[in-house]
Amino acid sequence: MAAQSSLADFVKRRFTQRTEDVLTAYLCLLPWIIGFLAFTLGPLVFSLVLSFFQADLFTRNVFVGLGNYVDLVQDPLFLKSLRITAIYAFVSVPLGAATALAVALLLNQKVVGLGVWRTVYYLPSVISGVAVAVLWLQIFNPRMGLINNALKVVGIEGPSWIFDSTWALPSLIIMSLWAVGANMLLYLAGLQGIPTYLYEAAKIDGASVWRRFWHVTIPMLSPTIFFNVVISLIAAFQFFTQSFIMTNGGPNNSTLSMVLFLYRKAFQQTRFGYASAVAWVLFAIIICFTLLFMRSSSLWVYYAGEERND
């Protein structure tokens, strides 16, 4: 009798604990769930719907089906922004990753003043994109800027950089390298996670520095590289601040990024439907590249501890 009641008691307690747990969990998540519905999922669906309408703030919305997308494909300015964004992303991301990795390899050695060097390389990534843009606006100044003055010393007459439609985009890419510090820190952390016995074993087997780099460092670091490149690509596809502040998309639209194009359509011409279509094209591109990259990862990313079938 007593045993029975204590069993019932136990079951009941277990049950109430479990109900309490579920209730507490959802109570804790309530703000996030509301926020997700109101500020993410709702607007996400809304913007997809909006992209099928001709819509602005003041007039009635007209359903145009895929009209906005058809217009986009025929809009030379949009196609240009697409090309510019792709060039920016596919040049600046690999270049930035290589630079960050090189610096990280160097600063993974025991060099005098290590902390100082790491800070020097990292510091530019602490400040705002606006501050970076304003500073480099002056550095690229064809007349008094740092770069052209430096080039003059070695006898080269520098181009007009951001005022020259051939050099403007490369200028923004060069500038982006100044802020590789955060990526460098990630690579450093990855490098320090590689067990030293792997290097020692390779050394005993007579592997040269070069071979140790390609056959130990790179495979062990590949998850970090993979993650870093994905995140950087997503960010690079959304580049905006630099071109908005430094060139306002110019000269001759040579730095018109997709987000700047979207910004103009949405907030200067209030073409909300058209701008939403731009947003969805951008979104689709980002998803495609992320998925493609993830698919390819099994070919070149090595996860220690992962079971391999081959």
Partner: protein, 290 residues
Amino acid sequence: MSSAIDTALISNARKVWHPVLRQIGLLVLVLPGASLFLIPWFWMLSTAGKETALIWKTPPVWIPPVYHWENFIKAWLQGDFAVYYLNTFYISGMNVIGILISSVLAAYAFARIRFPGRDVLFVVVLSTMMLPRQVTLIPLYMIFSELGWINTFKPLIVPLFFGDAFSIFLLRQFFLTISRELDDAALIDGCRRLGVLFRILLPLTRPALAVVAIFNFTWAWNEFFTPLIYLDSPKLFPITLGLHRFIGRAQIDIQFLMAMTIVSTLVPIGIFFLTQRYFIQGIVITGIKG
């Protein structure tokens, strides 16, 4: 005999000299890059203290004969920077408060409680981190304008009281590092679930809270796009918008523009130097930057 001594001497010399040569070699590689990274800072600092005539001089004067500190004061007064600073402090502070309250709760649920739908919801959190914000931008703008929130701080602050995916993820990772046995002991002693969070987990994860606060403060400080969309009147501008506005005004007086660029970066740089340990820990644990 003497040749044996010679070899011993040589190998000894190698032992002494090898690390030194190595250091020199490394420094030869480190220094050029480091100076490339440092020169823009130095140039900014130098330009900010120059008089107009010196700025356009070629070759450039690296160290101005007289450093005009008053440039900073003149520019500060000319550009309403006190207002921008206060606004930025307010917005960033509110962001941190909102994010901490909402994200701690959500992270706790994900890290510690078993409930139906947990894994699905957590995947949703992770995928919102990948979502480009332009996709939700226009509907959000329409909603906020419907609510009469345009040209107020609300669009920059209110959403963050409903959780931030990145912070939830970060805090969850930190919570998972704390042994579950502590929770169980407290639960057996009759502590409620939320009691476990406030009495056990939060005191143990203070560094994690610091990381989240520092990161979000710095990001909010550096944020440009959102305020650009929602704020019109300069008296509401944060420092990034203020600096952008100042470009037009200080077209000729580049020293003023540089002075205020320096001023705008003081807070993030100060935070970085004061909290370097947390900063680096946060980056390393999450692998994500702003």
